[in-house]
Symmetry: C2
Subunit: 209 residues, 2 copies
DNA sequence: CAGATCGATGTCAGTTGCTGTCATCACTAT
DNA sequence: ATAGTGATGACAGCAACTGACATCGATCTG
């Protein structure tokens, strides 16, 4: 019994889940990979998902996944770059009259308002990250990079050195705790307001003699 | 041409670098792995070191490495457990009269004194971690776990919830920045004192209206 | 229009981190 | 003696990630 060898062109196995574009390949490969990854991480968990499965759902190959994302975790953090840019921009454009910690907190409040607009996505993403230690590691180093960027921005505003990094790190701590409370609760709390309350708590806690 | 099949007993290929004990295997396998790993990470870098190389230098096999350490990074963080226990113990035994943030800072000052006694080791380890992003991720999640443990301890002291986590996170931030300044500088600065100064800076930074 | 070039992807082979499973064998308790 | 026990070795295998090269529409160039 002889078997015909069939050469399958990439287009002919294009993912069922996503509409086909007009070029040689479907458009937005990167976005399809992000969406497929989040779906699979939610359905089966991060550990139980292979990169090959993500690529297959997006109608691509494993190799292509690694051309778009440095590793299996990074696909969940693609948006972090934009968020950091927004925060730095907002911080840089805050009037110099504000104290460093207040300027940092104000930037986070503005970012919190944006996050709230994509609440469903933010909550899904948070659920995936909360369920896996490796993803938490990646989240923490993104926050550390953010702290570093905000420290630089503060320095450019004339804030001297230990104060700049402390204001940035303290601001991150406030945001972390506020976000956890917001994402963990079932309430319809307002994220910017939770951030503001957490900042006031921090001020109270550090109001030592 | 026939070749004799030689079965090599583990003892006969025991590591040259480490003295042999009296049992079936050399003693302190775990410690030998830690030392071999640190040496190799310093010599060739974390990425350029394979687990097989570490095991070989310790006179063991790759499989044994993974029986002692969950992954290639964890070998650098074996001592973190003891440090966390020390910090929690110290925090728990601080008089209740101290404000939460001061109690946390006092615990870090005590731990800082211990770290200073092993300054060479602490600096070598820090150099390895500073050179590799994956190791920084691991360090950050250890600090997050530490924050969580200190938060629990503060709660047991009657500190209510947002204040407890904020005091712990703020304390971590202070320690992080103080340690960086201490390990980065060439000076003979006193780590507990650097921690104390950083805490004062934080208090100044958060002393908003 | 023909040909060169380019960019995004596919294909394939290889290394390494990490795991499951079973064998080995000094030591220990009965 | 005999039967565990515990730390290790040996081996097979999966999945993450990388390097090298091939493919082929789209685009540029003459």
């Amino acid at each position: 019994m002889s078997v015909a060898v069939i050469t399958i062109h990439p287009m002919s196995v294009a993912a069922v889940k996503y509409d086909r574009g007009m070029g040689r390949w479907e458009p937005n490969a990167r976005g399809r990979l992000e969406r497929a990854a989040l779906e699979l991480y939610l359905e089966r968990g991060f550990d139980q998902t292979t990169v090959a499965q993500i690529a297959a759902r997006a109608g691509l190959t494993e190799r292509t996944f690694f051309r778009h994302f440095a590793d299996k975790r990074e696909v969940l953090f693609a948006g972090a770059v934009g968020l950091q840019e927004f925060l730095v921009r907002t911080l840089a454009s805050t009037p110099d009259s504000a104290a460093p910690i207040d300027a940092v907190a104000a930037a986070f409040e503005a970012a919190g308002a944006l996050l709230q607009e994509r609440r469903d996505y933010a909550w899904q993403r948070q659920a995936v990250i909360a369920a896996n230690a490796e993803l938490q590691e990646r989240e923490l180093i993104k926050l550390a990079a953010l702290a570093s960027a905000m420290t630089d921005t503060l320095r450019q505003r004339g804030v001297t050195d230990p104060a700049a990094s402390l204001a940035a790190e303290a601001g991150i701590a406030v945001f972390k705790i506020a976000f956890e409370r917001w994402a963990g609760g079932t309430s319809q709390a307002d994220l910017p307001q939770v951030i503001r309350e957490s900042l006031d708590e921090l001020k109270a806690v550090t109001a030592g003699k």
